[in-house]
């Protein structure tokens, strides 16, 4: 079996065995062991054409490195199963606000409450971590209707995590960037620095209520955590397992990248996410250029005035952390330069202080 499809095969095998019953229950029933047995027995026969690609059991280990997802946009039909499954799978994580303290200053620190708009599914919210954009575009003489499931891109070098002052957002070894709701203060810095402004805030919950609720913090930020609770058990994220069209594939990033390139070649298509923001763990392949898709989804909003809040764009994105990566070199060079300067005698000569034994100074 081709390594590339090992996790996708699980998805297909499972679906076949349940005769296309698509539900959250399906996604959670198959243990890793069960999945691997199924993979070995049924998966190979169903999908693998030759003996040279004989099925082999693969257990995700840290050596697999980061897991990435591939979304084949030519397959998505916008049925919304993934959106529903995402909500169901993550329902226990959704915020239940307890109080809304009056914050200072009121003009700048405004309460954000989505708890009475939980059904909103046409944008990202604290209760809707995945939604589907639709774009109708003309390309190469054909009209395409492309549906794009949007959620956190799970960047390889995520600024939301690196710039969080409290360590409340972190990337795991398996490539998932998680926001830890016990620590998050809801300052929304992660949303500001995210190139796609993905995380969404719910006020009235979180640690800030126990500290200085009127003066600092404003809730908790929420976004896709790629169903880590399922992945930890060797199961697929809900949006992947429930999809009737096999839009998504998940696997080690280097394999997903290879698969994305092959798919793009096959459909003469285009890739998004491979290099965006220095590389993400969500890679889209589309039969039409993403520039056209971006313009088309923009058109959904009134008069090209932007996509609106909670509706991520599809523009090309440079590496947000590139300057920090370069400056890291400065923090290595600087002390070495200081040491060299010291050896050359810079600042070595002490001043005379016959009249001041204490040698007072103004160091902080």
């Amino acid at each position: 079996m081709d390594d590339v499809g090992w996790w996708n095969i699980n998805q297909r095998t499972k679906r076949k065995s349940t005769i296309m019953k698509r539900s959250k229950k399906d996604s959670g029933n198959l243990s890793r062991r069960g999945f691997l047995k199924t993979l070995g027995v049924g998966g190979a026969g169903m999908l693998v054409p030759s003996a040279s690609m004989a099925a082999q059991e693969r257990v995700p280990t840290p050596s697999d490195g980061e897991l990435a997802t591939l979304l084949d946009l030519s397959k998505c039909i916008a049925c919304g199963e993934c959106v529903t499954a995402c909500r169901e799978s993550n329902a226990a994580k959704f915020p239940e606000p307890v109080e809304y303290p009056k914050m200072i200053p009121t003009k700048r620190a405004k309460t954000q409450d989505w708890s009475n708009k939980r059904d909103v599914d046409d944008r990202l919210t604290p209760y809707n971590w995945l939604y589907i954009q639709t774009a109708e575009v003309e390309h190469a003489g054909e009209t395409h209707e492309i549906h794009i499931p949007r959620r956190c891109m799970h960047c390889q070098n995520p600024p939301c995590s690196h710039l969080c002052p409290f360590g409340a957002a972190s990337k795991r070894k398996d490539g998932i960037t998680r926001i830890y709701d016990e620590i998050c203060m809801g300052g929304a810095k992660c949303k500001t620095v995210c190139p796609w402004h993905i995380p969404q805030r719910q006020s009235g919950v979180g640690l800030y209520l126990d500290l200085m609720p009127r003066l600092a913090g404003n809730g908790v930020m929420y976004k896709c955590d790629r169903c880590y609770q399922l992945l930890d058990k060797g199961e697929l994220p809900a949006c992947i397992s429930v999809c009737p069209e096999d839009v998504q594939t998940i696997g080690p990033r280097y394999e997903i990248v290879a698969q994305a390139k092959a798919l793009a070649r096959e459909m003469n298509g285009y890739i998004y996410g491979m290099n965006e923001n220095g590389g993400t763990n969500t890679i889209y392949v589309s039969p039409v250029p993403f520039e056209l898709l971006n313009k088309a989804i923009d058109r959904d909003n009134s008069e090209y005035k932007g996509l609106g809040k909670g509706k991520p764009h599809l523009k090309r994105v440079a590496d947000s952390m590139a300057d920090e990566t370069n400056l890291a070199t400065a923090t290595i060079v600087a002390p070495i330069a200081g040491i060299a300067a010291g050896f050359l005698g810079l600042g070595a000569k002490l001043l005379k202080s016959d009249d001041n034994e204490q040698g007072g100074s103004d160091e902080s």
Binding site: R108, D323, F343, G359
Partner: protein
């Protein structure tokens, strides 16, 4: 009149670097816009999280340069003539902790580096906590008029 035993530029550069690191460090929290600091003429940059972050790196490099100079001079020249004060020792230890935890932060932000989330959180809070302690110790030292790091033996 106060007289530093070591060259004044070292002291001034150190104070400048630590002061700016403290300021840009606190500006890592999303406070500047909320509390109208960005409205103050010349301070709009405090609301640019990336800018503040990069400045923090630059001031850290300046501090590390000064530390490099001082450490070498201490072991080559000053060790025989100066001794650290108790407040000096405390602040050197705290500063060491800040440099180490800050170094971990810089390392963590590099591409292809992924640290365990619990460790990341620990490093963040140690870094944040140590700067608060440094501020407290520095304030006490200042009030007691014992702000010198080192005195003549």
């Amino acid at each position: 009149m106060k007289v530093r035993l070591y060259p004044g530029w070292i002291s001034r550069l150190f104070v400048f670097a630590v002061g700016m690191l403290t300021f840009t460090g606190f500006m890592q929290m999303p406070l500047a816009k909320r509390y109208y600091l960005t409205e103050v003429p010349g301070m709009a940059w405090t609301g640019d999280f990336y800018m503040v972050h990069k400045l923090h790196y630059i001031f850290a490099a300046i501090l590390l340069f000064v530390v490099g100079v001082v450490v070498v001079n201490w072991f080559l020249e000053w060790n025989d003539k100066l001794s650290l004060t108790p407040f000096g020792m405390a602040r050197v230890a705290i500063l060491g902790g800040l440099i180490i935890s800050g170094g971990f932060r810089v390392y963590r932000n590099l591409p292809d580096v992924t640290m365990y989330p619990d460790l990341v959180m620990l490093i963040e809070w140690v870094h944040f906590g140590l700067v608060m302690v440094l501020g407290g110790v520095a304030l006490v030292a200042l009030l007691k008029r014992r702000s010198a790091y080192a005195i003549k033996k």
